[in-house]
């Protein structure tokens, strides 16, 4: 295992190095992509190795799908589209150096990435110096768009708004008032938890109980379940990954705690969530940044093609990467240049595989709420519901 990832990383670095070297010469004459060039190249910055390497793989697959589709339909205004991948290894330090390499190559119309918020935050100062367009899919930390950079837009729903929507769904849609929060005891999990608590207060719901666990280490939730039960929690807020979420619901079912709806983020949207819960996940609600089970034509076509090519469900990274390529096509065909891409996006309306997008002045998606997926008969199904955000306005000023 370690050997093969080491290999692929070396190969990747070599490929990236070669790409950078090859780009220097033409770059000296042409500057950034101009109308005279034959190919429009985008840079993808994502973790191809390391703990989050599966996200990088998804980014690559999403890009492949988009490039194939765009080039088959004649490219962008007659020019072919291509991409190069830069591996940030999911580490902020590497991300900053990737950013330098992308700018030094001087041939990319835009950067698609990074995936991890910490990487995006580390690389953005470099990108913003040069003003290159950054199309960021999955970095959900509020700081990504709150730091004053004007060359970035993102697709996912930011953590603070997302966390508020979990509470709103439980309180408004399900009418639950005594929430029990299970959260991963790390920066990300605690950040979400704080916002969920704030939103619950605003919605007059009570956090009856909460429990933080050590991610990837704790597997025994029996005492947490006894605690939630004793405090008559009427909704489980599962702020965690599918492993812990599934185990929690399975163990709850084992002591007869049933009929309490669970609400969680799209990190639960894996088949393993259902199998680990061994029947306990039935009826659980998952709020996802895009709806993989939507029957609308664009998402469905993408989903079917992806399933067929890789026999796997595309993660949001794949969908967002795909959509950014299509967005670039739409905007550039309408006359945007690499320099004006982000500004044009903020004025545009766009429909992609992940649904409808519009962006506000900061670069956050506007008016987008989570798709609600539910577990029914041991399978994920789209409910077509959306989160009732009534009462959240006062938090957003």
């Amino acid at each position: 295992m370690a050997g093969t990832t080491g290999m692929s990383r070396r190969q990747l670095l070599r490929a990236a190095g070669a790409a950078a070297a090859g780009a220097v010469l033409p770059g000296a004459f042409a500057g950034r992509v101009s109308a005279a060039e034959e190919v429009i190249t985008l840079a993808i910055a994502a973790p191809m190795t390391g703990d989050s390497a599966s996200m990088g793989l998804n980014a690559q697959r999403g890009a492949d799908a988009a490039v194939a589709m765009i080039n088959a339909a004649g490219g962008i205004a007659g020019k072919k589209v291509a991409y190069d991948i830069f591996d940030d290894q999911g580490s902020p330090r590497e991300a900053a150096s990737v950013a330098r390499r992308i700018l030094d190559a001087d041939k990319y119309a835009a950067v698609v990435g990074h995936v991890n918020s910490s990487c995006t935050l580390a690389a953005m100062p470099v990108y913003s110096e040069a003003g290159i367009a950054v199309l960021c899919g999955s970095s959900s930390n509020p700081k990504v768009t709150e730091s004053g950079w004007d060359n970035i837009i993102r697709m996912t729903i930011r953590d603070d708004y997302g966390a508020q929507q979990y509470s709103a769904f439980a309180a408004n849609n399900l009418g639950r008032k005594k929430l029990g929060i299970l959260f991963a005891n790390d920066d990300y999990g605690r950040g979400l938890r704080d916002e969920m608590v704030k939103a619950a207060k605003a919605l007059a719901a009570d956090i009856a109980a909460e429990a933080g666990f050590t991610p990837n280490a704790d597997k025994d939730f029996s005492s947490v379940i006894s605690d939630f039960k004793a405090k008559s929690v009427d909704a489980f807020m599962l702020n965690c990954n599918y492993t812990e979420g599934g185990l929690f619901l399975g163990q709850a079912k084992g002591v007869g705690v049933a009929g309490i709806p669970a609400v969680g983020p799209d990190s639960l949207l894996y088949d393993e969530f259902i199998s680990l819960a061994q029947g306990g996940a039935e009826g659980a609600y998952i709020l996802a940044a895009y709806d993989p089970y939507s029957q609308a034509p664009k998402p469905k076509a993408f989903m079917d093609a992806f399933q067929k090519a890789y026999s796997a469900l595309p993660s949001q990274v794949a969908v967002f990467t795909n959509d950014f390529f299509l967005l670039a096509k739409q905007l550039m065909e309408a006359g945007a240049t690499p320099q004006t891409l982000v500004k044009a996006a903020k004025d545009a309306k766009f429909d992609g595989a992940g649904g409808h997008y519009e962006w506000d002045a900061k670069g956050d998606v506007k008016g987008r709420t989570f798709a609600v997926v539910q577990v029914k008969d041991g399978k994920f199904v789209s409910t077509g519901k959306s989160v009732d955000e009534k009462g959240l306005e006062k938090l957003r000023g």
Binding site: M1, N185, E210, A211, G212, F213, T214, N216, A217, D218, K219, D220, F221, S222, S223, V224, S226, D227, K229, A230, T243, G246, L247, G250, Q251, K253, G254, V255, G256, E272, S275, L276, A277, Q278
Partner: protein, 291 residues
């Protein structure tokens, strides 16, 4: 009140699993003074074997028995390959060798079964048992019963049989035992085998109670076994059992009182306290440290 009793039952269930795992660990330590870092990994592989057999359609009771026997086989192989050649070396050497054996087992398991968490079938039905205001999981009750049964059986085996007496002799003085004609190697192998058997039994209960088998379970089991054995008095047989139970109850108490993040902190604090006040653990006072 019902709440406290429910938490106590959670603690007893997880504690009796720790106890079973700690027994095998403590057995090996008492005979050889070897900190058997591979023990948890043997258990993890055993649990995966049980999972594979069950998936292949082997009847549950038979599958669990076979898995326990696979634990015996792995423990024996590990003893032969990693421990026996270095048994008379400096104490550090077998310890490192044990650690190495653990890593090999964990990598092998990852190659075969992959790094994901696998769901484990529920062999003991999980039905809620309601007694008055109290709701217990049927599983925790059965797990406690199985643990007590296995501990009693192993205890009888070690104290009332000829083999058990031989093991006690080896424990007191390995060289003297050899001189009076006790087949020392056979006894040691048998101790490892017994440890592997009990360990995998604990591992299967562990997997079933948590719904999950996963690679990191090996390290987790080693750590908990080590902690339980230290708590009870390392090398003491009853000590490992009570140490496991107390560790389970302390952990559950910590989660219920302070929150899940304090699980390991509080249980380790209990161990430090016990060792400060009773350096030989709760039940280890009778045994003088053998050098």
């Amino acid at each position: 009140m019902a709440y406290a009793l429910e938490q106590l039952s959670n603690g007893l269930a997880i504690g009796s699993i720790y106890a079973l795992i700690a027994l095998g660990y403590s057995l090996v330590y008492s005979i050889l003074n070897l900190i058997n870092f591979a023990h948890g990994y043997v258990i993890m592989v055993g649990a995966f074997v049980a999972l594979s057999l069950l998936q292949a359609g082997v009847p549950p009771a038979f599958a669990v028995l076979l898995a326990c026997l696979s634990g015996v086989a792995i423990a024996v192989v590990v003893e032969r390959v990693a421990y026996r050649p270095v048994r008379s070396s400096n104490r550090i050497v077998p310890m490192i060798s044990a650690l190495g054996a653990g890593f090999v087992l964990s990598s092998l398991a990852q190659l075969i079964w992959g790094p994901e968490v696998h769901p484990f079938p529920q062999l003991i039905p999980r039905v809620p048992l309601t007694v008055g205001a109290l709701t217990l999981s049927s599983q925790s009750v059965v797990i406690l019963a199985i643990a007590i049964g296995l501990v009693l059986a192993a205890s009888w085996f070690l104290h009332r049989t000829k083999f058990g007496v031989a093991a006690q002799c080896v424990r007191q003085d390995l060289e003297a035992a050899r001189l009076v004609g006790i087949p020392v190697n056979a006894v040691i192998v048998a101790i490892y085998a017994l440890g592997g058997f009990l360990g995998v039994a604990g591992g299967v209960l562990f997997a079933m109670y948590f719904n999950a088998v996963f690679i990191q379970m090996g390290l987790l089991a080693t750590t908990k076994a080590w902690a339980a054995a230290m708590l009870g008095g390392i090398g003491s047989f009853q000590g490992a059992f009570w140490g496991g139970l107390i560790l389970g109850i302390a952990e559950t108490g910590a989660v219920a009182t302070f929150g899940a993040a304090y699980r390991d902190g509080v249980s380790l604090a209990v161990i430090v306290l016990v060792l400060l006040l009773r350096p030989n653990g709760l039940f280890g006072a009778r045994l003088a440290e053998r050098s």
